[in-house]
Symmetry: C2
Subunit: 535 residues, 2 copies
Amino acid sequence: MPVPAASHPYWLRDNCPCPECRAPRGGQKLFRIGDLPDGLAAVEATEDATGLTVRWSDGHRSHYPAGWNAPAGPDERTEHAKRLWEAADFARGLPGADWAAYLADPEERAAVLASVLRSGFALLRGVPVEERQVLRVARSFGYVRETNYGELFDVRVEPDPANLAFTSAAVAPHTDNPYRDPVPTLQLLHCLRNDCPGGDSGLVDGFRAAALLRAEDPAAFDLLARTPVPFRYRDRGVELSVEKPLIGLDPRGAVREVRFNDRSTHTAALAALAPADLDAFYAAHRRFAAIVLRPELRLDFRLAPGDCLLFDNTRLLHARTAFEPGDGHRHLQGCYADLDALSSTLAVLRRTTAVLDELEALFEGEGSREYLGEAVTLAAHMLQAAALARAAGAPPALVAAALLHDIGHCRGGAPEAAAGPGGRPGDRHGESAAARLAPHFPPAVTEPVRLHVAAKRYLCTAEPGYADLLSPASVRTLAAQGGPMTPDEAAAFAAHPSGADAVAVRRWDEAAKDPAAPTPSFAEFRPLLRELMSS
Amino acid sequence: MPVPAASHPYWLRDNCPCPECRAPRGGQKLFRIGDLPDGLAAVEATEDATGLTVRWSDGHRSHYPAGWNAPAGPDERTEHAKRLWEAADFARGLPGADWAAYLADPEERAAVLASVLRSGFALLRGVPVEERQVLRVARSFGYVRETNYGELFDVRVEPDPANLAFTSAAVAPHTDNPYRDPVPTLQLLHCLRNDCPGGDSGLVDGFRAAALLRAEDPAAFDLLARTPVPFRYRDRGVELSVEKPLIGLDPRGAVREVRFNDRSTHTAALAALAPADLDAFYAAHRRFAAIVLRPELRLDFRLAPGDCLLFDNTRLLHARTAFEPGDGHRHLQGCYADLDALSSTLAVLRRTTAVLDELEALFEGEGSREYLGEAVTLAAHMLQAAALARAAGAPPALVAAALLHDIGHCRGGAPEAAAGPGGRPGDRHGESAAARLAPHFPPAVTEPVRLHVAAKRYLCTAEPGYADLLSPASVRTLAAQGGPMTPDEAAAFAAHPSGADAVAVRRWDEAAKDPAAPTPSFAEFRPLLRELMSS
């Protein structure tokens, strides 16, 4: 990437990652765009292997680590981030998972959520056939969006239906709640019974239909995209009204939202259009409607009890065939939720996997080298400490702290110029480990890690005979770490809320240097670590 | 209005209000736009005082009552439906109400909600200074939108804040959660304590700021409106990202949404812009930011305990000054909600008022005329019936049924060609009253009204001596109403779920023809009717 400092100073300065400009935790920007001086310029810009360093005309210095501005993907809500489909694309089955696997396996969970983002839907099977489970599914990745239909709604034949959905009639492909703004961006439908003749489900990719319209009749596409249409719904307690185009575009012209619902399109107000546009609008609307109904676009399937369908209500149209109530019943429970939380949950799942992979790589890479002259490797030492914590019945956070307490000795690349006799480099490995873990783990993990070196200094003071138990390497590093605590320091440490936990970790630490002891694998601790990361 | 049938057949047909085309209850459209034949044309169109009648080429007939297409206002979410403001516009005080008045008086409630739509905010005072009351305020007009900050969030100084809001620092004008899509469109902040020096609140009308930018620098406005900007937020459990322009326009170019939040604007990805646009974007962004900070735009005020601020988070920027925690405390509780439900609640409040006004006008107009030869007017008759029901301790729905049972004798304009001896016109006044009330009242009101004529026929059969109690006018109409029920009819009526209620109404009906009896006013019953209409 070329050095853009000279040509785009505000952009570059706006992205300064220093702790004065960005909160280390969370990354919130700490200045206002208007705080930057007029005429800002880069006085000096140097680039090397570590990245780009800029000295600014107002005296600020910024360092941009190499790769800081990796190209971002497209906006994940537009057509460019989607896999547009027709029914035949799912000839080998629908994307989804078993509910039990979804709950147990983060990879399964990520795959299901990714499918909702990419293909617009996923099917969970084996969700317990009990009322209100649909809310549990929604809460597994986000928040329920309550509407006038309630927190959840029952889709079944009702005696005095206010809505076609609550009859046994066929329902043509449509998006839900177009008369809401914000429209619920996700819908869930959980099947409790479906033993009537008919009542099959259908999905149509509205983005695909819009793309076809654009390809076949660009003028019609443009007209639908630039004509706000009134969508309305009213009953005794509700009067909702929204004006939005059938095809919503982002500012660059990419399809970002489809609203399609014959039942609630109330076009009387379109009389305000230019006469030519009014007829052209209807021609375009009818053309789009015809594309939506093309058989090759409609994916038909049948929900069985326990199936829960998740779909993107800003993109997919859903439908059902008519059914005959007769002796059988068709009963779905539905609710709404939103894509942003789903997407966040997926991003955190992926980030968690990446962090665990990175930690595992540390154990298998640097961690497999010699550990400060001890008889075990650094990785074996940490794994043994975790095994001891686990065997002692320690809570998960302390098992994790024992497992990760010495990752401050790793640098990712080369090992830290490791604690030579009397040297200082090893001193702060508790702090550096805690700082590295803090974005991902709660304080119950990071505090004992941070304090495990101090715990050694504390125990040397507070516990007669403790110092004699230290390994020769540990004795060597003690001086560099500050030596035994003063009585005042020891009293303060004992009063620290995490002091006792740090001492516990320290004891497992001391005991985890036995070349003959069984050493578990890192993989055994992944579920425990993942659980803590999302706590 | 010109007759548009010939020139815009699809539009007109799409708006056919007949019960085959629109569900009488709710108004959902019952056909698909693609169901209309190609080449649809009006074969015949005639217009008279009752409206426009059209015969279509496919044989369908439509009747459009006069005034069916009254011009609609602008989309209520765009700048065109708003009162744009500067701080001085509120020199005489902030829009709002006391919480008690808001709860008790529908006019106050409507005024508060209307102010949120028009001015972007309102202040409720005297909300109980108790935790979680902010949720109660939100639920008074809509639904709480849960986010990663919880169902509600506490705004106060926190020990380890992930967000500047949870410190004592000043917070510059911003919109909340720009990294969510859908963004929460409403925010509520309820003040529980505010006794620190500082910590005043500020609001800025972002639509006004955008309008100023457009006036002063149209190119900058256009650039901000067409440049999606990445907004991001991440912490241990969340990773949210949205690309939206700072100024969102509807397809016609009207301002519809402002997102402004320095803290979460992450512009690294803007490197993909054309180089000239990148610098121009920053110039525009800084110019907009400078407008937002103009003192005359910022409305400053101080929240007192019990104050609850409601504001449109798609339009208003909110801010606060720094405060000194010291001995005092500043504690707000906030939650998010959405404008669509607020708008619906306001529309229903207004519709309810309009319906009650219309009913009251019936009582004072047509109702004040002679009532089928009885000694009291129609209005006095109905009011007496309601008074009797009330005195008997009847539930509200039956009081309402007694009050409204005979509105089928009114036509709005001329009174129904009122039940002459032996004529049929009076027969169906129960049905017509029920049909008129059904869009607004629950079946517990409309069913006894519908059945109160049948109840007379029932009682003539089931209760010896009842017929003798009828007034001469009532005897006259009995024959036209079908005479006494057959035993089978009477058995079916007795088994009807609303049969007993209809009989009760009927007895008050019979007793409410006393010129000497006290007659309450319609106004006394308005709160009861309103309550039923929203039940």
